[in-house]
Every structure is written in C-alpha cells, then in structure tokens.
C-alpha cells in the first residue's frame, strides 16, 4: 500500500481529474438498467461510482481512536458492523482497520480531518477511493441473488442492516454492506474485478427477469 503524502494530495488538480475520469462500469450502465426488474420478486443493480473512501488504521481503544471518532462525529464500528448511514459511514474491516465511506468529493476533507485527529499518535489514513467501485444491489430478491455467490449466511437473523463483511462473491474479494431491510446492499469491489462480478451478478439475476 502506498501512503499518499501531503504534497501529493495537495498538488492534485481536482477539476482536471473530474473531467477525465471514467468509472469502471460506465460502459455497462444501460445493460444494468435493462436487466433490473421491479415488483415482488424484483432485483435492481446499478453502479455508484466515485464514492470517497478512506482506509483508516488506528489502535483500538486508544486515545487516537476516540480522537478520530470525535472528529468524524461517528463512533468507530464494532466487529462486522457499520456506524453511520450510506452518506457518511465507517465500516469495520479488521481489529485496527476501518473504511470511511462518503459521497464523491469528500475524500480530501475527510483525510485532513482524520489526520489532524491522529496528529501525535499512531495510525494512518489513506485515500483509497480509486481502489474500489461500488455496486448497489437492491430489491426483494437481492438476497436470493447474493446467496448464489456468497458463502455467508445472509438470512436476517445473522446479517442485517448495518452489517458488513469482507468476503468472497464468486472468486472476488468484496466488502459487502447491507444498507436496509428491503434488502439493499452495497458491494465494494476492486475496479479490475468489477466487470467479472457484474457478469456473475447478472447471471444470478437472470431468473428474476420475467418477474
């Protein structure tokens, strides 16, 4: 992992970057739209590109973690949980590792906030927004679709809103995050695996096409 230093983050020109950037799945947006269904057994899939993501390492239970949590206005999550909502959240990734997720364009501000809070202590904060893209899978049949690809027990008794897990979907490592009861999920996947994962998901969704 490359640690983005201060100089790099300040010399980046955000306007130019925005104009030139492409999301990994933008060429499949129309296809995703076409293959999504509504109704009692519907399932919808679309990309939520360019979410701001900060990888946060902080010693658990230390002064740093309470400083970081104060600066974010959110408690750091407990094991396999998410604190916050889909607009501003911290996901549990490991015993001393979390992922801050926020809408596009928030990364630099968040990075500054967290690094200020960490000053003088141990830990790190790295902008990993370009590492993963996000898929949103929702609809009454969303859990059935995921269950074809995932070995986790996704039944509401063991996985519900506000839960997250790093696991395998097919052969791909993803961060799986359940947002609501519908159920709606966010699937955060490395950009280079996104196409493959969409193939798998569309295949799993095929049986629901006719309602």
């Amino acid at each position: 992992m490359t640690v983005l230093n201060k100089v790099e983050s300040e010399t980046a020109a955000p306007e130019t970057a925005t104009a030139a950037r492409h999301s990994p799945l933008e060429h499949r947006a129309a296809e995703l739209e076409r293959r999504s269904t509504s109704g009692a057994r519907g399932v919808r899939l679309h990309e939520e590109p360019f979410l701001s993501q900060i990888n946060l390492r902080t010693p658990p239970g230390g002064v740093e973690s309470s400083a970081v949590s104060d600066s974010l206005g959110l408690p750091l999550p407990t094991v396999n949980r998410v604190s916050g909502d889909e607009h501003h959240a911290v996901l549990w990734l490991g015993p001393d590792e979390s992922l801050i997720v926020a809408p596009d364009g928030r990364a630099e501000h968040l990075l500054r906030t967290v690094r200020d809070a960490q000053r003088g202590g141990s830990g790190s904060a790295v902008d990993v927004s370009a590492n993963r893209t996000t898929l949103r899978l929702s609809g009454p049949a969303a859990r059935e679709v995921l269950e074809k690809l995932c070995s986790l027990d996704l039944h509401p008794r063991s996985f519900g809103p506000g839960d997250c897990a790093q696991t395998l979907l097919g052969r791909v490592i993803v961060v799986l995050w359940q947002l609501d009861r519908e159920p709606g999920y966010r699937i955060m996947v490395r950009c280079s695996f996104a196409d493959y994962l969409v193939d798998l998901l569309l295949d799993a969704m095929a049986e629901f096409l006719d309602g």
Binding site: V79, N80, L93, G94, P95, E97, S151, L152, A165, Q166, T167, L168, I173
Partner: protein, 89 residues
C-alpha cells in the same frame, strides 16, 4: 469444505483462507552458529502428528490477519480456542 473460525470475523469458508503451516517455528537465535543439517532442519522439517496440531492460517479474503488455531489432523476438527500467545512474541 472446512468452516474456519477467524478470531476476528467469525466462521468463514475455507476458501477465504490460506494455510500457513506449523505454528511456533522460531527463527534460530543465532543462525550463523548452525551447520547445514541444523539449518535444513529449521527450514524444511515440520512436525506431522496424527492428532492435535498448532497451525497458522491467514484470512486473505477477509480481515487479512494471521492467527493460530489447533486442528485435529485426523478429524479436521478445529478447536475454537486460540492457542495462548507465547511469551516470546
């Protein structure tokens, strides 16, 4: 498929893990003092018990942490108790 208990993430499929071999194999205190046979012994020779075996696993598809567990090599039963960390680590 084995169900492996990651001490952090909980029970997960074996496919999410990589195996790390025998646990508690210490790097020699002074490798220069070893002759070739002893060095070879350290590098390549591992216990192969029938029964309880302390071993290393890494949760590659999850939290990416290394941990030790005790597995019965005859039955593949894994003890949920994490072996006690030794003083030297």
């Amino acid at each position: 498929m084995l169900l492996v208990r990651c001490p952090w993430c909980g029970d997960r499929d074996e496919a999410e893990f990589r195996y790390g071999g025998q646990a508690d194999v210490d790097y020699p205190a002074d490798p220069h003092q070893l002759d070739d046979a002893a060095w070879g012994e350290y590098l390549f020779v591992r216990a192969n018990p029938l029964g309880s075996f302390n071993e290393r696993w890494v949760h590659t598809a999850g939290c990416r942490r290394w941990f030790s567990l005790v597995r019965d090599t005859a039955t593949n039963e894994m003890s949920p108790d994490i072996p006690r960390r030794r003083e030297s680590r």
